[in-house]
Amino acid sequence: MHLLNPESSGHRLPSAALHEASSVPKIFPGEMLPPPSMDHLDELEAQSIYILREAFARLKKLALLWSLGKDSNVMIWLARKAFFGRVPFPALHVDTGKKFPEMYAFRDRFGKEWDLDLKVEPCPPIDAVDPTLPPAARSAARKTEGLKWALNKYGFDGLIAGIRRDEEATRAKERVFSPRGLEGGWDVRDQPPEFWDQFNASVPQGAHLRVHPILHWTEADIWAYTKRENIPIIPLYLSKEGKRYRSLGDQDITNPVASTASNIDEILAELDGTKVPERAGRALDHETEDAFERLRVAGYL
C-alpha cells in the first residue's frame, strides 16, 4: 500500500512479498503445465470485473460513487483492471463537506494520479432533510439528497456503489443490479430475481440502477486485496494512539475503534479476533432498530 502519511512508509510491504502475492499469473515453462488456478482473491476480482463490464455494456450513463473509503478505492482499482487502466465513466463524490481532511487530500491526489473524471457534488443543508429521522441518520440522509441532486443534474442511469453484504443486514439482501424507483427509493419487498450472473438492467425512464460490484466481498477480503494489489489507503485506517477507524464517514458521526493495528497485516489479524461489527463506529446504525433500513429504502447506500 502507498500511504499519504510519509511516516508510515515503513509499513510498506517488502517488494519480494508483493511479487509473491501478485495477481499476475506465473509464467509456466512449457505448454503442458496446468493453468494457474485461482485463489480466493482472484475469484472475487474476476467476479467484480465481470459485473463492472456488464454494467458498462448494458447501461448508458454510468458513474462510480467514490466515497474515498477502502471499499470504493478497491472498486476503482477493479474498474481500472476491468477497463485496462482507465475508468471509462465519472467518479462521483457526493460531498457532505464534513469528511476528514485526510480524505480530501486523498481525493485530490488520487483523483489526478488515477486519471479519474472526478465530479464533486455538494449535499443540501440539513434543513432539507426529513426531520423525523434520528440526528445521525438525518445527517447521513443529506447524502441521499445530494445523490438525488447529482442524479437529476447528470441523468445517470447507473450508479456503481461499493457496498458489501457482510457490512450490514439490509445490505445482505441487495441484488448486484438493484433497480431504484423514480425517487431513488429501494423496494426491498419487490426485488426482481437475479441468478446465474444475468442481471436486470432495464431502467424505467427517469429511474436508475445501483450496481454493486463488491457485494460478495468481506471486510477482510478488502484489506487482503488492498495489500496484494498495493492500493493506496487513507492513514486514518491505521492505529494512532491506540485507535483507528474501521469505516470512514462524516467526521461528526464516525468514531474510531480501539486498536493497535498499524499496518494491513495487523488489521487482518485484528479482524480475525474481533467480535465488534465494522460499522460500530457509525452512529447512524445504532440509533434505532430500523433507522438504517429506513435510510436505505429512501435511497441511501
Partner: protein, 638 residues
C-alpha cells in the same frame, strides 16, 4: 448481514489455505431454516458480541419469546411477519472450511428470492418439519435445486422434539423425500434428525437422538465440496464487449469453461469465423503469458480484424458450441402471467440477448404437487419444457455438456421472469415456422449478376440527420443505374409510410424498424439488387443486427459530418422542430447517435463533394467484390 464474526471472517484470503463453500438452506415456510442458521452460528461460536443480548431485548420489547431466527430476519418487515422475505448471507467457519450460509425464504410468494439465493450455492440443506413432513414447498424447492444444477443436497428433519425424537417418523420422512429427490436425479448426501431450537444433531449427537449414527449438520456441511471451476471442459468465452480505449482492440469476457493462451486458434460462434489469439491483455502488467483458465475475466486481442460483438462465444476449433435458432429448455417460471405457446420473450444466454417466441410447451406442472397434472401454459412458480425459436442464431450447448453455456434466462418487460437448462439445440436450423416454405427464385444469382455487372448488396448509410445520407444514396442510385445496375433506394422513412406504420420511435420500435429495413433490403440483395439504405440507425446494436441479417452482403458506410454542420443544413426542418421541443426523441440533438467503430467506409461530407463521395463508395464496392469489370473503365471516364 451485520455481523463481523470472529470465526466467520478469515483474515487471510481463505482460498489459499481453506476452501470456501456456499450453502443454501431451503425448505417449506416455518420448517425452521432461520432457526437452524441462528443455532449454527451459536454452536460454531460465531455470534458477534452483544448480538444475542440485543435480540433477546428486542424479543422482550415486542412481548415475544426469543427466536433464533431473529438473528437473520433483521429487516423490520420480517420481524413483524416472522418470515424471511429475501435471502440473507452469513459466514462462519467449521473445522475444515469457510462456510457462506444463504438463508432463502420458504414462502411460495418469495420463490424468486429463494432462486436468487440458491443459484449462488455449491450445495444445499433442505429442511423438513418432523411434524408436518414433506410439504409442497419442500418438493418445489427440491425440484428447483435440480433445475439450478445443485447436486449436493443434505436433508435435515427438524423439530424432532415435536415428535418425541421418534425414529419411525424420521424414517417415514426420509423415505418420502429420498424417493422424490432421487426421482429428480439428486441423491441426498445425508439425512439428519435435529432439533434446531434445542441443538440436538446440529453440532453434536445427543442422547435423545441416540438411535441416529450419521453425521451432524456441521459434519454434513464439512463434507460438501466447493464448486470446481470448469477448467476440464472445452473453452467457452462469451464476449462481453469490444474495447477500443487505445490502439488495441480488446475482446473482453469471462472464461466460463476451459482455458486459453496467446497463439490459440479460435472460432467465433455462432458465425464460425476463425482467428488466432494475438495477446492476452491486462492491467497494470500487460500482456500476460501462460494459460488462463475458467473463472478468469480476461481481455484478448486477435490477429485479424473481423466483426465480433457482445454475445458471441469464443471456442477452440473442433470443440465449438452449436449455432442454433431452436432450443429446447426445461424452465421454471416466476412471472405473474403464465408462459404460453406463441408468447414473445427475450432470451439471455451467456452475454447474448435475443428475441424469441415460444413454439411449444410440454410437461408444464406444479413441482409442489404430487399429481403432476400437465397444463398448457407454465404458471407462476411452475416448471415445464419449452421449444423456443430465436430471432437470431445463438451459440449454445446442452447443459449436460456445459452447464454454463447450457442455461438461459427469460426476460419479460425488462425483468427476469424465468430460467432453466438447455436440453437440446438444433444446430443451424433456421427459425422458420413449420408451415412456411419460402419459394425459391427461378433465376440463379449468376444470371442476375451477369446482367447487372454487380452482385447483390445492402449498402447501409448511417449518420446524423442532415449528414447527407439521402443525397449520397440518390447520387449512388443514379450512378449504379446508369452503368446498367439495379439499385433500389430504401430511405429510413420509406417503410415507415406503409409497412412500418405500426412503429413509433421508442428504442424497441426503432430496433424493429431497422430489422424490417434489413430484412427487406436483404431480400432484394439476395435477388441481385443493390439495396441502398439511408437510415439514421443510431444504435450500434441495431446496425449489428442488420449486419447479421444481410451477412456477407452488408456494407456499412458512416456518413459523418460535424453535428453543427448537420444542424445548419437541416434539410427536413427537423432540427428546428426538435430545438423548439416539438420532436422529443430526435437523434440529432439528444446525442444518442452511436458512431460505428468498425465500418467498411467513413465519409466526412463536410469536406467532400457529392461526386467525390459517391465515387469513393463505388471504389469500396469494387474492392469488396460487389461491382466488377466496368468499374475501372467507368472511373477512368469521369
Amino acid at each position: 448481514m451485520n455481523m463481523i464474526l470472529p470465526a466467520s471472517v478469515s483474515a487471510t484470503p481463505n482460498g489459499t489455505t481453506r476452501p470456501q463453500v456456499r450453502i443454501v438452506i431451503v425448505g417449506h415456510v416455518d420448517h425452521g431454516k432461520s432457526t437452524l442458521v441462528g443455532r449454527l452460528l451459536h454452536e460454531t461460536g460465531s455470534l458477534p458480541e452483544g448480538k444475542l443480548e440485543m435480540l433477546k431485548a428486542v424479543s422482550a420489547r415486542r412481548g415475544m419469546p426469543f427466536e433464533w431466527s431473529f438473528l437473520l430476519d433483521a429487516l423490520q418487515t420480517e420481524r413483524d411477519q416472522g418470515i424471511t422475505i429475501d435471502t440473507t448471507q452469513i459466514r462462519f467457519r467449521t473445522r475444515s472450511r469457510d462456510v457462506v450460509l444463504i438463508d432463502a425464504p420458504g414462502h411460495a410468494e418469495f420463490l424468486r428470492n429463494m432462486i436468487t439465493g440458491a443459484s449462488q450455492a455449491d450445495g444445499a440443506v433442505l429442511i423438513i418439519d418432523a411434524l408436518e413432513g414433506v410439504r409442497d414447498q419442500t418438493r418445489r424447492h427440491g425440484y428447483l435445486l435440480h433445475l439450478l444444477g445443485i447436486k449436493q443436497v443434505a436433508i435435515v428433519v427438524n423439530k424432532m422434539d415435536r415428535v418425541d425424537f421418534g425414529a419411525d417418523r424420521f424414517k417415514e420422512i426420509s423415505d418420502e423425500i429420498s424417493a422424490h429427490l432421487i426421482g429428480l436425479g439428486v441423491t441426498p448426501s445425508a439425512i439428519i434428525p435435529i432439533s434446531a431450537r434445542d441443538g440436538d444433531g446440529v453440532a453434536e449427537h445427543t442422547p435423545r437422538i441416540g438411535w441416529y449414527q450419521g453425521p451432524t449438520v456441521v459434519e454434513a456441511l464439512d463434507a460438501l465440496e466447493p464448486a470446481r471451476p470448469l477448467e476440464q471442459l472445452a473453452l467457452r468465452l462469451p464476449v462481453q464487449a469490444i474495447y477500443k480505449f487505445d490502439d488495441r482492440r480488446i475482446v473482453a469476457g469471462r472464461i466460463e469453461s476451459g482455458h486459453l493462451a496467446a497463439g490459440d486458434e479460435i472460432v467465433i460462434m455462432p458465425a464460425g469465423k476463425i482467428a488466432k489469439i494475438k495477446t492476452v491483455e491486462s492491467w497494470p502488467v500487460t500482456p500476460l503469458k501462460g494459460s488462463h483458465g475458467a473463472g478468469r475475466s480476461v481481455g484478448i486481442t486477435l490477429d485479424r480484424e473481423l466483426f465480433i460483438e457482445r454475445g458471441d462465444v469464443i471456442a477452440h476449433a473442433g470443440a465449438t458450441p452449436r449455432d442454433t435458432r431452436r432450443i429446447r429448455a426445461r424452465i421454471f417460471w416466476l412471472h405473474d402471467k403464465p408462459l404460453s405457446k406463441g408468447d414473445q420473450i427475450l432470451i439471455r444466454l451467456g452475454t447474448r440477448e435475443t428475441r424469441a417466441s415460444v413454439v411449444a410447451i410440454e410437461k408444464a406442472v406444479d413441482p409442489g404437487e404430487l399429481s403432476n397434472e400437465e397444463t398448457k401454459a407454465i404458471a407462476r412458480n411452475h416448471v415445464g419444457e419449452i421449444d423456443i425459436s430465436l430471432a437470431q442464431p445463438i451459440a449454445a450447448d446442452p447443459y449436460q455438456e456445459n452447464p454454463r453455456t447450457g442455461r438461459l434466462v427469460i426476460e419479460v418487460n425488462g425483468r427476469i421472469a424465468g430460467g432453466g437448462l438447455v436440453l437440446s439445440v438444433d444446430a443451424g436450423q433456421r427459425a422458420v415456422p413449420i408451415d412456411i416454405v419460402p419459394v425459391e427464385s427461378a433465376l440463379r444469382p449468376e444470371e442476375r449478376s451477369a446482367r447487372y455487372h454487380h452482385n447483390g448488396a445492402v449498402i447501409w448509410l448511417t449518420g446524423l440527420p442532415g449528414s447527407g445520407k439521402s443525397t449520397l444514396a440518390r447520387a449512388l442510385e443514379r450512378r449504379l443505374f446508369s452503368r446498367g445496375g439495379s439499385p433500389i433506394l430504401l430511405d429510413g422513412d420509406t417503410l415507415r409510410a406503409g409497412l412500418n406504420n405500426d412503429l413509433g420511435f421508442s428504442p424497441q420500435d426503432r430496433s424493429e424498424n431497422i430489422r424490417r429495413l434489413a430484412e427487406v433490403a436483404t431480400h432484394l440483395a439476395r435477388n441481385g439488387h443493390v439495396a441502398i439504405v439511408a437510415a439514421v440507425s443510431p444504435a450500434i446494436a441495431d446496425r449489428a443486427a442488420a449486419r447479421r441479417i444481410a451477412d456477407t452482403m452488408f456494407r456499412e458506410v458512416h456518413v459523418a459530418a460535424p453535428a453543427e454542420v448537420c444542424e445548419s443544413r437541416d434539410p427536413k426542418g427537423h432540427y428546428a422542430k426538435a430545438r423548439s421541443g416539438a420532436l422529443p426523441s430526435f437523434t440529432g440533438i439528444t446525442n444518442d447517435y452511436q458512431p460505428p467503430t468498425a465500418c467498411e467506409l467513413r465519409i466526412d461530407t463536410s469536406i467532400r463533394s457529392v461526386a467525390d463521395a459517391t465515387e469513393e463508395i463505388e471504389r469500396m464496392l469494387g474492392e469488396t467484390g460487389i461491382l466488377f469489370d466496368e468499374l475501372v473503365d467507368l472511373a477512368a471516364n469521369i
